[in-house]
């Protein structure tokens, strides 16, 4: 039964704005970038590191001697990015290069805007093109350009704004785009939900019935295989009353989130219990699924809007005691 159709998958984006404090070395480096200047730091061996490092890369000594370096530099090595991807410095093809700025001993990695790979070579002289708006980030350097290219059309880096507060934090948004796949077992379960059915599977080693079914029984380490159709009635094993509002909340609190053990299942799942006063929900309460209109069904547990009390007598403790 499992795996008769390819597993379901869907796009899945994850993102987070990393906010980092900068400290005594990276802070002045970021502040200088915002003000249109580049700082390096002198290492234990007197080499000037650009970008700055907080600790010497060889000895591990804490470093503190900041040194201003030039906007001009020399390409040490390069490669060509023919199709830029999200977040990169330029949206047209460009060179990546390690550039040793005049006054520095170690190179900085950044983009060079030359239009074509033929215009790039190791040893070429380049200079910084500053971003119009700067916040204290490495992206304040928009890119590098050939040192002899025209400057007339470009904004000059404004003189250091001496009254502006030092930069102490940097925010880096990170966004990744994935394609999330369900397992073969989960796919069967989701396709059954689309038809209004609750499809569990039994582990053939321990006889436990899992809903959703699993790629591996967590007790036995083997995939569940034997399909089991379950009714849409069950028992509340445990619950909590949600009183706290939060971003994206769809129901006004207070409401009940409960673990529901479907009749015939060995594992409970989390769902909503509505249709009665939150204060009346209790362990052992018998509930039934309230489905959304059939035309709204798809491959999701959200087809069940919530569970509501059936009015039957409560289940005996021993019927769910092993599932708490």
């Amino acid at each position: 039964m499992t795996g008769t159709s390819p597993p379901l998958s869907a796009p899945f984006d994850v993102g987070f704005d990393y906010t980092r404090t900068l400290g005594p070395v990276l802070g002045p480096f970021a502040t200088a970038l915002r003000d249109g200047r580049v700082l390096g730091i002198r290492g234990t061996d007197r080499r000037v590191h650009v970008p700055v490092v907080e600790f010497d890369p060889v000895t591990g000594d804490a470093l503190d001697e900041l040194v201003e370096v030039s906007d001009f530099g020399t390409v040490v090595t390069w490669t060509w990015q023919s199709r830029p991807s999200e977040g990169q410095p330029l949206d047209r093809s460009f060179a990546w290069a390690m550039i040793r700025l005049d006054g520095a001993d170690t190179p900085l990695l950044h983009a060079v805007d030359t239009g074509s790979a033929e215009a790039m070579w190791t040893g070429m002289r380049v200079r910084i093109r500053w971003a119009d708006e700067r916040s204290g980030s490495i992206t304040d350097i928009a890119c590098f350009v050939p040192a002899d290219s025209a400057t007339a059309s470009e904004p000059e880096a404004p003189a250091a704004a001496s009254d502006a507060a030092p930069v102490t934090t940097v925010v880096t948004p990170i966004h990744l785009h994935l394609r999330h796949s369900a397992s073969a077992q989960e796919s069967d379960y989701l396709r059954a939900l689309e038809q209004g059915r609750l499809l569990a599977q039994r582990c053939t080693e321990c006889d436990k019935v899992y809903i959703p079914p699993r790629g591996a029984c967590p007790t036995c380490g083997v995939p569940t295989t034997e399909p089991v159709e379950l009714p849409d009635t069950g028992t509340v094993t445990t619950f909590c009353i949600v009183n706290v509002p939060f971003l994206g909340q769809r129901i006004a609190p207070p409401y009940v989130a409960a673990y529901i053990l479907l009749d015939g299942a060995d594992i409970a799942f989390l769902h909503l219990v509505l249709g009665c006063d939150a204060a009346h929900v209790r362990m052992g309460m018998r509930v039934r699924a309230v489905w959304k209109p059939r035309e709204d069904w798809s491959t999701t547990m959200e087809n069940i809007d919530h569970f509501a009390p059936t009015g039957e007598p409560d289940a005996a403790d021993e019927t769910y005691a092993h599932h708490l």
Binding site: L26, H49, P57
Partner: protein, 353 residues
């Protein structure tokens, strides 16, 4: 108390695929591997004293993704388990230490990753310095291309030498049924191909690979019970270089050289190297001081399949097989992690008792 000797006694690898029909939690790839490697050793999962895995939440796109993989073990009753957010070669290091303490006498190490779920090259930008490099999103092929040109233009290696590495790997890959790619070719044919990220051509770069692998370790007498010819670990070391990419000499691998000295690599007949780019094979061979007589990455190596978080462990497993099968007396497996060979691990294994 004497510190017990530790040996590799088993190895299994999933097919190296561009896109596996699997979830990012690795269960589908791991279940058959556990079965295969335990059957081969006539063991059950209850015989394993310690489990250790390597994988990455960034690759899976969710937090604590390795927890779901534990389902594949069947962790009831509770097991002795650990995880590293590194290639599983580093999980093997942890397991080796655990066995050396004498606390357990068997360990199963596994790594897995579904690189195809996301944009791998972009994801790998996140291992770069978060202040001055990662916000620019230079991808992993870019970083390798910058390293390759440094070597080319300072005379450390030539494009032909790089092509010869790729040709050797592709020919070897054709003999490995689990490899993602491999075919008969030569350097001339490869040099005629266009560049992907100048100066790198597609064949200079490891493919994007989904996969998993498993290594079983055992200590002293237990190893001898499980296997007639265990691959005894006689040296193991890992070293890390600066997290500042541009502060390193990218044309050499000082960390690999240090590992080589510490692990004692003289006299190896086979070296399985984790070199995701052709020029890195050259850097590693020099750092390890491997002569022409040494068979390098006869599995085809990472250029024929580079499943993130298990490719390094697989190198140790492939190397060990030469000892387990009695084909070599002394071998090494190498693993790398981080951008442009930042971190390296060397595991030396020998036959005999």
């Amino acid at each position: 108390m004497a510190v017990p000797d530790v040996a590799v006694v088993g190895f299994a690898e999933a097919p190296n695929l561009r896109a596996a029909d699997a979830t990012t939690n690795g269960v589908e790839m791991l279940v058959p591997l556990f079965e295969q490697v335990l059957d081969e050793l006539s063991m059950t999962r209850h015989d394993i004293g310690f489990w250790c895995s390597g994988s990455s939440d960034y690759l899976a796109g969710r937090a604590f993704s390795f927890i779901a993989a534990i389902d594949a073990i069947g962790a009831v009753p509770p097991i002795n388990e650990s995880h590293v957010e590194m290639d599983a070669a580093w999980a093997l290091y942890e397991a080796w230490v655990k066995l050396r303490t004498g606390e357990v006498d068997t360990a199963l190490v596994y790594g897995f990753g579904k690189s195809s779920a996301g944009d791998l090259r972009r994801t790998l930008a996140l291992q770069l310095d978060p202040y001055s490099v990662a916000p620019l999103w230079p991808d992993s092929v870019t970083i390798a291309a910058l390293q390759a040109r440094l070597g080319l233009e300072t005379g450390m290696w030539t494009e032909r030498e790089m092509a010869e590495v790729s040709a050797r790997s592709l020919r070897d890959g054709a003999t490995n049924p689990l490899a993602q790619r491999g075919h008969a070719t030569d350097a001339d044919a490869l040099l005629a191909e266009p560049t992907l990220a100048d100066p790198l051509r597609a064949y200079d770069c490891a493919p994007i690979t989904d996969g998993a692998s498993v290594v079983v370790l055992a200590a002293a007498d237990r190893a001898r019970e499980l296997r007639r010819d265990p691959a005894w670990i006689t040296g193991m070391a890992h070293r890390t270089e600066s997290g500042t990419l541009t502060a390193r000499d990218l044309t050499r691998s000082s960390s690999t050289q240090d590992c080589s000295k510490a692990a004692g690599t003289d006299g190896v007949a086979v070296a399985e190297l984790h070199a995701p780019f052709s020029h890195q094979d050259i850097v590693l061979r020099r750092a390890l001081g491997l002569g022409d007589a040494v068979s390098v990455s006869p599995s085809g190596g990472a250029l024929c399949g580079n499943p993130m978080f298990s490719a390094g462990l697989s190198r140790i497993g492939h190397a060990a097989r030469h000892v387990l099968d009695g084909r070599a007396e002394k071998v090494l497996g190498h693993a790398t992690s981080g951008p442009a060979l930042q971190q390296n691990l060397v595991c030396v294994m020998e036959g005999g008792n």
